[in-house]
Symmetry: C2
Subunit: 543 residues, 2 copies
């Protein structure tokens, strides 16, 4: 897998891109949903045909063996994997690129790189797997700095230590999902953090962005799996003590979790692990009434049953991505355990669904062997669809489609109004743009006090304008989130794209405190400028 | 209950103090455990006989209706409820007392009080229920400031709003445990946060100190129950958005949780609530081998069964406080749910205990009615003992006993070494002091990756010297915690007493960031000086 060629312009591996029958089927489905869409396929430009600005800086000799000026490297490290990243690549818009890609092999290298950046004023953008969908790794600040570099942590990719008794491991931040799970498998352990980006994203990236993962309840964010962290800041190394829990002052790790590279570079962490599950149960409840489906989901979220999977697909999502026609959506339920059978909690969840009008046309599947997969038909379809989504997104993006997602969380009392406002905002934006489109909604995670809704936007755009068209839709729906008290991001992070709404959401005194922390830890203001807050003024950066 | 007279020198209500037969029984038990102890009862001094320094400041006229110079008020607000606080009161050592007690009735009052303190350089110590056991409310900084005041939040004591759908409530910070539960009971809701101090501690205090509560697993700290917080800082009001979960930058609430009054005054919070439990199951496993008892507890903690109660009492704790003689200790187990019977997880936990040699002489009790209590004999005994402990501590403190607790958390792999080191350190300190004593250990909370051990120290001290004797024991055991990688506090907070060990535990760059945050939010350095960090130098405080 690690030998495969990565796409320079889009998601994942070149060999896995959508082609042939998959594209034809996708095109047929979209054409049926959005009649009249111009689905001509546009090919990406030849990378060699693009004119990149010359690197503005050379790294010091001592760091030269770690640096790359290769154009493919530079372009690939200057974009994340958002829709607007992919489309700009397809259009050959690669104006702002990092000047160098630097690949530390040791923590000492990271320190040396940050020291050089601090001394020279060069901006350093920490880079894990590069799957940011919020502009988190893009050198949009390029002209404000003498140069920008990507600090690619991919060389720090080992599991260093395993504590089987406490079920924890010390892991380097640059490791990608599959290599991490491979290293743990031999110990019968697993991190069980499976974001959609799993194959191409890194532990450090998950930590820096507070990624959401596998568990729909309890351990929803990577935050909950952190025992301690080691972070290289420009003023020194911050290492917290390995602790299962603590109450000694404000939690140090919580300052770095979600700091998105502006306070330091995460190099390793002790992570809490799980035994590999043996017992599983899965079922999909089909509803005729979405309000009742939401009520069932809320009841389960408040039951203390703690399902592993509790994803409510609304009718649009269920139809588009699980192939299930329903008037009220589909609730995909799953339980798993390494310790005990999970039939009883599953049956209670089923009962709750039935009390709210849910039907189980595929029944309930339970297994007690680790190899078997327990899930119903709709769940299976949805799951494979989940993994193909980013590839299909790319295919559609090349066919003038606007295909993007955004996610949030709100309390249950506000959800109905929020969803209505988001759909209204998106549809109004479609109208204003003169495009046709649909919006789908699913819950990725649920809490006792509210869901984390994830929206998909599919609209037929105009080639060459889809980035700007998306930006208008995004502004409209983000406004709907803000005015309905929802968060601008539940697990995609803020990056550069969510800044205006994040700035309004963040309490002012906290913003002031965070700026003070940043100035103290990164006095030269070189770490990932523009993310979470504006870069410091130039006079601040050159002391 | 709220009409009862509070003890000025010790725990709780005067009417509930240990007297008569309870004291006689206690004395007999101690005499049997620690033969030779001088258990003469020393009476507290008359408060009127103590000479208090005159108040050094008057509050401005506008605040005068909120202020009190009453000596009892001033003394009672100048101490927490640690052993060393109680004994110093008994000895009449009330040297440093706050100059005024100010009781805001509104949030506006809090703002006005902080404004005055900022302008005048008067130190403000936020005061909830005053049950700190770490010197968190003591004006030890008195001579560095022109005056110190206690800001008693007791007037902000209402449940302002209830969202039944999301199971959350907006609650003022000054409310005490019983009033809070009373207000929620009518809505069939409960916060279910029951620290030992429950009756006399406040929501704001719990939040500021990251208090640990009822749940032995999952929702161990009050932190986990916070939806949003409102904090008055000297530079403005910080209010986070009500969210069930978020990933938008470093979590704002996590900076104020555990900030112990140095960054601002918490005035209200939206708290996540629970339905009142209906099904319960309880059992107590008796072990012959403590190592096997620990292994059983660890297996349950890693099982995903999520018991509500999972408190392993070591043989000393089981004997002293649950009246159970055992070679390997007692594991008190409990499950509860408002949604479903809990017999199955209880049975699995019982099976795990049996696989590790645990016996259940009192069987397993399950109930499905909210009124019934399900617990075994040992658990019942231990629970009533738990509520009497602070009163008995006071009684023994007046009989020259050194009676104190300290608590921590560590990963499972380190627990054996940690406990051995703690016992060794305490026993060495007993020897050096020439006193006899015993140390007990129980787990208050357990995590998949480690327990939160809570140690009790009972030693026969010398009247007039027990504070200093305890300080030496404390220093020795704190050193053992530090060198074995445990936290200096799991849920008692840092205050002033844990500072030397906290300072070593806290990563330096994080300390620098926290100091920067403090300087920004509290530029005059007037908030709870000496807690978590040294007070700023005087020239900083008077800009």
């Amino acid at each position: 897998m690690r030998m495969a060629t990565r796409s320079w312009w889009g998601w994942g591996n070149v060999a896995d891109a959508v082609t042939g029958e998959e594209r034809a089927a996708l095109t047929r489905r979209v054409a049926a949903t959005l009649p009249g869409a111009d689905l001509t396929v546009h090919e990406p430009p030849e990378l060699s045909s693009l004119e990149l600005p010359a690197p503005r800086v050379r790294v010091p000799d001592a760091l030269a063996p770690l640096a790359s000026e290769d154009p493919v490297d530079r372009v690939a490290h200057s974009r994340g994997q958002a829709f607007r990243d992919v489309v700009r690549n397809l259009l050959g818009r690669v104006d702002r690129v990092v000047d160098q890609v630097v690949r530390p092999r040791t923590e000492r290298d990271v320190i040396d790189i940050l020291d050089w950046c601090t001394d020279s004023g060069v901006a350093a953008i920490p880079y894990g797997g590069g799957t940011s969908v919020v502009g988190g790794v893009e050198p949009r600040c390029a002209e404000d700095y003498p140069a920008t570099i990507a600090v690619d942590l991919g060389g720090l990719n080992h599991v260093l230590e395993i504590d089987r008794t406490s079920r924890a491991a010390r892991i380097q931040a640059g490791i990608l999902g599959p290599a991490l799970e491979d290293a743990l498998r031999g110990h019968d352990l697993t991190l069980r953090h499976f974001p959609q980006s799993f194959e191409f994203s890194s532990l450090g990236g998950w930590l820096a962005t507070r990624a959401g993962g596998h568990y729909a309840t309890v351990y929803t964010h990577i935050d909950d799996m952190v025992e301690s962290m080691r972070v290289i800041t420009p003023i020194g190394v911050s290492e917290s003590r390995r602790l299962p829990g603590s109450g000694a002052g404000p939690a140090p790790d919580r300052m770095f979790l979600g700091s998105e590279g502006i306070l330091g570079v995460i190099t390793e962490a002790w992570m809490r692990l799980q035994d590999r599950p043996r017992w599983r149960a899965g079922a999909s409840a089909v509803f005729d009434d979405y309000a009742k489906a939401v009520a069932a989901t809320r009841t389960i979220a408040q039951s203390g049953l703690f399902p592993t999977n509790c994803r409510l697909l609304d009718p649009v999502e269920a139809f588009l991505n699980a192939g299930t026609a329903s008037a009220g959506g589909v609730l995909v339920l799953g339980f798993e355990s390494a310790d005990h059978p999970v039939g009883e909690p599953m049956q209670r969840a089923v009962q709750i669904c039935r009390e709210h009008g849910g039907r189980f046309p595929d029944g309930v599947r339970t297994t007690d062997a680790a190899e078997d997969k327990a899930s119903s038909g709709a769940a299976d379809t949805w799951r494979s669809s989940f993994l193909r989504m980013p590839y299909q997104r790319d295919a559609l993006a090349a066919q003038s489609m606007i295909v993007e997602t955004f996610e949030t969380a709100c309390t249950w009392d506000r959800f109905d109004a929020l969803r209505a406002a988001v759909l209204d905002a998106a549809n109004s934006a479609f109208d204003a743009l003169g495009v046709t489109g649909v919006v789908s909604c699913r819950f990725t995670h649920v809490y006792p006090d509210g869901p984390a809704p994830y929206f998909g936007v599919y609209a037929a755009g105009q080639w060459g304008r889809t980035v700007e068209q998306w930006d208008e839709i995004k502004a409209a729906v983000s406004e709907a989130l803000a005015t309905n008290g929802a968060t601008i991001t539940h697990h995609h992070a803020v990056g550069r794209d969510h800044r205006p709404w994040y700035d309004r959401q963040r309490p002012d005194p906290f913003a002031a405190a965070l700026r003070a922390a940043k100035s103290t830890l990164d006095p030269a203001g070189i770490l990932n400028p523009g993310v979470l807050m504006d870069p410091p003024r130039t006079e601040r950066r050159r002391p």
